[in-house]
Symmetry: C2
Subunit: 230 residues, 2 copies
DNA sequence: CGTGAAGTTTGATATTCCGCAATGAACCCG
DNA sequence: CGGGTTCATTGCGGAATATCAAACTTCACG
């Protein structure tokens, strides 16, 4: 809960990019900064939405649970984005669970500041609604993929989404910059970790990917696109 | 494009329920009213969002198309709700296609009035964001169902969603009040019309449903809930 | 009416993918 | 450095569901 946050941390991020130095300072003074170790649950589905968050570093998994205990990963939040913004969609409770995919640092503010931010900070409201729209687009894409594509294509799509949000380029290859298990990928695509494992093995044989435990590199992104059946 | 619209048409609908008579009148004077015959495409995915809509009567299917020409029904819009509200999610183009599931009547306004509505009409912005939130919730549910449930359960869920939005009660039974084909249901659930047909036949044998061409009645809603694996 | 189009049913066959089971490799921590 | 835990691999059999094919109903419309 440091109150020595550097304005440069957030000055360039879209929701705040139009603000002047003073506004940024005000904003930071009211913020709480916290480290969430990997696999921490930041908030749960249905829980009262008491704060909203800005992810500074790391990646968040947005997860929904079934009554039967299975889990589905609906989205990933990349650094620099707001999350836990139930207020933006007229809710008083969080619509899903947020889990730190790796060690994460996030700022957060109490909900009662939400309206203030929207009113006082030009571009804040607009940008958050754009974010909501983008996430809705991603959900749409997921549904489309689940409804029309075969497992192999869906898994390829999932990998592509992952590298789009957390891809470290390395020559021709791309590595997913945060830890991902086979189980995680199966939770994104509605399959089993077995099937994912088999697919990755096959792709590794063909030189499309390479994978260590919890880490995946795509050696031939182009071939992956083909496999995704775009 | 009548300008003799009765204020009572919309005065009670959530987005406008807090407005006084004069405001409603102003609002209606600026609106265009139009009939969209069944199966009409009201707007297409990617198209410039020039107007936003309020559905007065009928049901809308929100559809996405794959490059391969398959279609997926992501949502249904019931009467009384806004749709085509790309502005609310920071977009300049419609994110999906809207098709009239039956004869529909809708009001629409040019986008340049959107900001005015948000500023001038108390509750309008809030209500639209609530709507966006609800639709996001539905997309989440779809994803959860597609990822974790078997076809039979998914189809049962789809029927339940349909009766929730367009269900005419009739004693113990419920009838879906607008036309639905096997193909439509398969487009909602990511199956084939063949499988849906088989399931409905089986359920009809068990007395759970009854169906004519393009119309489905649920005779035993409780059994359907069980089949949905809630 | 009669004809065609759209929607539905059903069977037979094909295939994908899951579930189960067991082994093996990588990592953490004391 | 050893022991346990988490994560990954692989084979096999079987169930769920798609695909193919054909006949049948219902309806709209001339």
């Amino acid at each position: 809960m440091s109150n020595r946050l550097d304005p440069s941390l957030i000055a360039r991020l879209p929701p705040f990019s139009k603000l002047d130095r003073d506004q940024i300072t005000t904003l930071l003074e009211q913020a709480t900064s916290q480290l969430y170790p990997a696999e921490t649950t930041i908030f749960s589905e249905g829980q009262e939405a008491e704060r909203f968050f800005l992810l500074l570093d790391g990646h968040i998994r947005v997860v929904r649970l079934t009554p039967g205990g299975e889990q589905v990963i609906a989205l990933h939040i990349p650094p620099g984005q707001l999350f836990g913004i139930a207020q933006a969609i007229g809710r008083k409770t969080y619509p899903a669970m947020a889990v730190a995919a790796e060690d994460c640092i996030a700022l957060s503010w109490p909900v009662n500041l939400w309206q203030r931010f929207c009113d006082d900070f030009p571009g804040f409201a607009t940008e958050t609604y754009r974010t909501v729209g983008e996430r809705m687009g991603e959900l749409h894409e997921s549904i489309l993929a689940m409804a029309t594509k075969h497992v192999e294509e869906r898994v390829a799509c999932a990998l592509m989404r992952l590298i789009q949000q957390g891809g470290r380029k390395d020559g021709n290859a791309v590595e997913i910059s945060f830890p991902v298990t086979r189980q995680n990928i199966s939770d994104m695509t509605g399959t089993t970790l077995h099937t994912v494992s088999r697919l990755l093995s096959a792709w590794a044989r063909d030189g499309v990917v390479e994978s260590r435990r919890r880490h995946i590199r795509i050696l031939d992104p182009h071939r992956l696109v083909l496999l995704s059946g775009a």
